[in-house]
């Protein structure tokens, strides 16, 4: 009965990248909902772009889904309360809300009517949706397609190439209906002829599940396809996945829409559909809590703004942890304090036990960094240019193409911090301008 030909193979040449340990130990565990928290901290800047502007006052009563800060400009996203209670404090960069423990939803929330592409962008904006794969780019901007741009492919990014993280996988296993309805809605409203759902080959169960989408009755003209990608990091990076799915290369400084593609994370699609169906904006997030210091890892649904330490004490971490990473171990950012809140763009909290070894040797010029770089750069040459202060060379080494995926540092046998050096090189170039 299965139409096997609907599972496509990647179009582009094999990704350079690197094979990482998958460490997806939480994949088959049902997501746990975290009980209500006493207090949430909602930062105004949980996305790329201008921080949101607060619209609430101290002492004001808010409900789940109440707008607390509005988008400030085009590239920005609003923030909604994730609990019901009172506004305790409005800081310069965040709002603190004390929960009453009831989680009462805001009564004014209503389903959203979507008929035109403008409606869809409006819905993404009202929802406060940002790219949930980790980048945090406001979805409204992505869906506001310029006049005259032809989009022929919707790429649904379910690659989830970072180790440990399984939150997108759980989304597609548990909220399958939202995913499938979301895909068809976006495809129909934007009138995109093709949709490709991209999954890494290490998620066989998800491939089986998503295969049903590709063979759904609504797909009358056979336009939704499933693609099995090599389980290689960084398969889920935007430019990489476009190349894998369509064979098109996004030129430097251009957007996916310039090559006729829109890439959306699978959880973003499901979240957008839920907002349109119920009117409830993005107020909670499924995150994977895993890492070497987590003995009982799991996926938890937490209200956005929950302090990380609350999540950690709910899941339970070993006492000797030394590092908390917001996101996965490859591109995640270390937090300075466990008081920091969960943000919209978080899809994981990785807690590690041991610090990385500090001893580095001189570069032995094995060339592994260059042969793993998905952007085909030469990190070792940048490293040497920086150490000799040859800053004029940085431009010709194209350091601005670097997407900081971390492959070069990962493979380096001399344990040189190459990704950090690439960041340094980029900031040197910025300052020179």
């Amino acid at each position: 009965m299965q139409k096997k030909e609907k599972i496509l193979k990647a179009k582009g040449k094999a990704l350079m990248g690197t094979f990482l340990p998958h460490l997806k130990g939480t994949a088959e565990f049902e997501t746990v909902v975290m009980p209500s928290v006493a207090e949430v901290i909602l930062p105004f800047s949980q996305h790329i772009g201008a921080p949101a502007k607060p619209v609430v006052e101290e002492g004001q009563q808010v409900f789940v889904g109440t707008l607390v800060a509005e988008a400030d400009g085009f590239v920005s996203a609003p923030v909604h309360s994730s609990v019901s209670g009172t506004v305790k404090k409005v800081n310069k960069d965040s709002v603190v809300i004390e929960s009453d423990g009831n989680m009462t939803p805001d009564e004014s929330l209503a389903p959203f009517e979507v008929n035109t592409p403008q409606d869809l962008a409006e819905a993404a904006s009202k929802c406060g949706l940002v790219g949930l794969g980790g980048a945090g780019f406001p979805t409204k901007v992505k869906l506001s397609i310029k006049e005259g741009t032809v989009i022929d492919t919707l790429i649904i990014n379910a690659a989830e190439c970072e180790p440990y993280i399984t939150s997108d996988y759980r989304e597609c296993m548990e909220n399958y209906d939202d995913v499938i309805n979301g895909i068809y809605l976006i495809k129909d409203v934007l009138n995109i002829p093709n949709a490709i759902i991209c999954v890494e080959s290490n998620k066989e169960a998800a491939i089986k599940k998503l295969y049903e989408i590709a063979t759904d009755v609504r797909d009358t003209d056979d336009s939704v396809k499933l693609m099995r990608l090599q389980s290689k990091y960084p398969q889920g990076a935007e430019k990489v996945i476009i190349y894998s799915a369509t064979g098109r290369k996004v030129p430097a400084g251009k957007l996916p829409s310039d090559v006729g593609c829109i890439v959306m994370n699978i959880t973003s699609i499901a979240t957008l559909y839920r907002f349109i169906k119920t009117g409830m904006p993005l107020v909670q997030k499924r995150i994977t809590v895993d890492g070497t210091a987590v003995s009982d890892p799991k996926n938890v649904i937490v209200p956005i703004g929950t302090p990380i330490k609350e999540v950690l004490s709910f899941v339970g971490v070993d006492d000797d942890y030394s590092e908390i990473i917001m996101g996965g171990p490859m591109m995640g950012v270390d937090v300075v304090s466990a008081e920091a809140p969960i943000e919209k763009r978080n899809n994981a909290i990785t807690v590690m036990k041991n610090a990385l070894p500090e001893t580095t040797t001189a570069c032995i010029r094995c060339g592994r960094c260059a042969n793993t770089c998905p952007m085909k750069l030469y990190p070792a040459k940048v490293d040497s240019a920086i150490s000799f202060s040859l800053y004029d060379n940085l431009n010709s080494l194209n350091v601005n193409y670097c997407m900081e995926c971390g492959c070069c540092s990962y493979v380096c046998p001399a344990k040189r911090p190459l990704t950090q050096t690439m960041r340094l090189a980029k900031s040197i170039l910025r300052r020179k301008k």
Partner: protein, 312 residues
């Protein structure tokens, strides 16, 4: 609870390979052929190897102490250099010459240019060339397998390209029953070691395959005994273990292919038209010097490259 957290730049995962681990892999790959050399050429061969390894290690160790540098002797790269150098010497060589070779390799070729990763030529191979030029008689006094007398005999290679008839069969050459340097005789064990390195992803097979393939093809066209051309002399040792030296070979796959093919051609030309019987080390040295230019020629354009107008 205010715990001081560790904060570092991503990525927070690292591959388990280390510089030391890679060097250890090379040693592991070389050891079977080295032991075989000791079996064939006797205890004197073992002594030469030991002297080379020890002196390379001591030179590296002392250099770092005298110049107050970070101690790099324990990254095993000096051990690899010593082992390779020893395997490139005949078992009859006076021990002081082996020490001179180690000095050239570690101090002159490696450390004077900045240590590991900065040398422009392979240290062990350059040391072999220096010894060859300085002490040609001692460097070519090969003994027959399983004999103890230092009776110098023509190598199969010299016989192949000279007038003397070779008594060595392809089978003998493959398994290493032939005269020559300590470590270069057994093509079989060298290839096994090379496969180990390829499987461990320490070396890329492009250079050895192109190098050996080019020599084989050229001798086939010239109508020579392909088996003996490929299996005797220093070709296996040079192509698998010296031409693949990270520092002195090109980075990209295309660059590696060019490097390997050119090495093969130069080897063939020297063997046939040069005054020397063996050309492997000279061809690698020449290509080492050309490596920066090959690297520049084969620089890849980044993914999605857009040309930037000059003068901005």
């Amino acid at each position: 609870m205010s715990k001081i957290l560790n904060v570092s730049s991503s990525p927070h995962l690292r591959h388990s390979d280390t510089t030391q681990g890679i060097m250890l892999d090379v040693v592991i790959a070389l050891v079977p052929a080295a032991i075989f050399g000791c079996v064939v050429f006797g205890w004197r061969a073992a002594l030469v190897l030991a002297v080379c390894i020890a002196s390379c290690f001591i030179f590296e160790f002392l250099w770092n102490i005298i110049l107050k540098k970070q101690q790099s002797a324990f990254d095993l790269s000096a051990i690899v250099t010593g082992l390779l150098l020893g395997m490139n010497l005949p078992s009859t060589i006076p021990l002081w010459m082996a020490v001179v070779g180690s000095f050239v390799a570690i101090v002159i070729v490696k450390q004077l240019f900045g240590g590991i990763g900065h040398n422009f030529a392979n240290p062990a191979m350059t040391a072999r060339i220096v010894l060859m030029v300085s002490f040609p008689v001692a460097m070519t006094s090969y003994i027959e397998p399983f004999t103890v007398d230092a009776v110098s005999s023509a190598t199969p290679l010299a016989a192949l390209y000279g007038d003397a008839a070779s008594a060595v069969t392809v089978k003998d050459a493959f398994f290493g029953i032939q005269g020559g340097c300590i470590g270069e005789t057994s093509a079989f064990l060298l290839i096994i070691g090379g496969l180990y390195l390829v499987l461990r992803r320490v070396i890329n097979p492009i250079i050895p395959v192109c190098f050996i393939g080019t020599v084989a093809l050229a001798s086939l066209i010239a109508g020579q005994n392909v088996g003996l051309c490929v299996l005797s002399g220093g070709l296996m040792l040079g192509a698998i273990y010296m031409a693949t030296d990270y520092t002195t070979s090109p980075t990209t796959n295309l660059g590696k292919a060019i490097f390997g093919i050119c090495c093969g051609l130069i080897t063939f030309i020297i063997r046939n038209f040069g005054a020397l019987p063996e050309g492997v080390s000279y061809s690698i040295l020449l290509m080492n010097i050309l490596t920066p230019y090959i690297n520049r020629l084969t620089t890849r354009k980044p993914f999605g490259y857009v040309k930037v107008k000059e003068g901005k």
